[in-house]
Amino acid sequence: MLKQIEGSRAVAEAVALCRPEVICAYPITPQTHIVENLGQMVKGGEVDHCEFINVESEFAALSVAIGASAAGARAYTATASQGLLFMAEAVYNASGLGLPIVMTIGNRAIGAPINIWNDQQDSMSMRDAGWIQLYAETNQEAVDLHIQAVRLAEELSVPVMVCVDGFILTHAFERVDIPGQTQVDDFVPPYEPRQILDPADPVTIGAMVGPEAFTEVRYLAHYRQMQALWLIPELAEEFAEQFGRSSGGLLHEYRVEGAETLVVALGSVNGTIKDVVDQMRDDGIAIGSVSVTSFRPFPAKRLRQCLSGGKRIVVIEKSLAVGIGGIVSTDVRMALAGAGLPVHTVVAGLGGRAITQQSLLNTLSRAHRDVLEPLTFLDLRHDVIHREIERLETQRRSGPVAENILRELGSVADRIG
């Protein structure tokens, strides 16, 4: 059914349609509206057979989900930013135990300095935690990915994060097609756990494993993600047949035919990128883009197929590996090993800075002319940086950097508009 609703509400409705049995809620911006909506739906009786638990921290949220999942319930939670870091230990644990929990990440920056706005540093920090990570480009895809995620998680017994850009998607009101219950029931069968805490057949879960078997256990975690490389597109195909629209899969290509410059990005920024691609194509520039939906497992082979026909790659990423540069671009370079293509890292949109069409156009034009540096920061205020660096060099007690920068920029009111 077509609805004009907030992204968070749409995600909550999708999750509810998947018949979750235990939902753990802890507030953190910009994810909060999702669990608020779910709480209302559960309490109001719209979701049958479901426990909604208000916990005391994100660490507890995922831990409750771990217990529930191990006891055979379909478990769900949502978090963002600091919350994801606070539950980090449980994030690794859930995947290590092979528990198919689905968790929404309302992508947000990590402090300090504290910042509630969107980038993808939070989920990137958990990229090696053994969870499948799917990035939604639109709110429609966010809805569809959640439905696919439950199926994917449970078939492989691997937890899945569905990453939805904070505010840009979570708080955006737009038209979303929310499927019907029967349709979702047909796609997502009841949860059949591989392992379950059951007094009728007692098992020990979470035993200590030494060097004799640890590598094998870890390899199998990798193996399951390699299985996901074929299951993800398969599910997307099945989803398209049943729901009549294409969503998910490993990646989406956009006007890559004959493209010399290829842009790679994750999540909602692909909308802007596509507009810029259109604009540049109109100007006769051979450019295309690839939106990576599945960052873990990383579709290296598929990406190589898409990109190897180009002459240069530009990765626009909303995260920063401090001390080296890009996170996504490092993986893209791995996928393109030996192809001899230059891969440019463009760090953009940190802490919610708008990624404008004009800035992208300038950057991509420079890339197309082969004058773009290997690592750039989109719209970086060089004047401000230089003054602060100068201060650091001349004054020992130079004060808190964040505050200095803000002072440089003037009052908040001055900067609006």
Binding site: E51, A60, A90, L97, A207
Partner: protein, 333 residues
Amino acid sequence: MRSSHVKFYQTGTFTVGNRLLDDADRSVQAAVERTNSLNSGHRACQGCGEALGARYAIDAAMRATDNQLIAANATGCLEVFSTPYPETSWQIPWIHSLFGNTAAVATGIAAALRVKGHNETRVVAQGGDGGTTDIGFGCLSGMFERNDDVLYICYDNEAYMNTGVQRSSATPPTARTATSQVVGPEPGNVFGQGKNVPLIAMAHEIPYVATASVADVRDLEDKVTKAMSIRGARYIHILVPCPLGWGSAPHDTVKLARLATESGLFPVFEAEHGEVTDRCRIRRKVPVEDYLKLQRRFAHLFKPALKSDVIAQLQGLADRNIRRFDLLAREED
């Protein structure tokens, strides 16, 4: 308390007392139908108080639930010695997730059981003092506050034994640990720190809180049985001497637990909805020295010179417990 109603002719071992009881009241631990929740072959040290306490506690919980029991276990000695892959000593479904999240994992299990309609199956969470009073405290308090249907059992051996005897918030003053060494002007753990988690549990006004020790396993069994008859959040804090960490003889584990309770250092009591309802009376109060001198962690109080003033301070703590929990036996007892 049920076990305190029986007048043993000597202050001594439970086995002597057991013979004085009616058949129906005797411990079933020696019977063939004993469940052995924590089976033999595990790797606990000789004289491990935690292994003893855990087996009696979980066996009692199994009996009380007709074996419909699931356990969540914190990281720690109990977890490590009972489940070295691919072996396990547990005869019940058992999960270990992390050090600090056991109460939350148990909450999740309880929620799953409720939503699946398995109301007959119950959940026990268990951990050591580090996993309970320190790193797991946030999740524990959350589980209490929500009154989740979980019995949490803390096996308190008063330090981080699994990592090599480091101080926890349950370590008593003056005790030597690897992080409260016997050096400086205040050797060992300092006075004026630490927390009393049974009292904190009571402050959550949960339906049931009890303390127990491995010196009186019948009392322990009774408390676990009672706890399993109640729905909601329950907490049992069991003192379990650790020969390794305490520097005591393995054969003194039970004796030390008894001396801890009979000196007043470890008060044994029950509370319901935040109010103390019963306590195990001390029938023959012993001085704290009797308890301290059997443990090398307190050796510096006796050698090279007797530190009477410090021992008097510890005696003061014991006496305060006796007053606070009204522990001394009266004539009518």
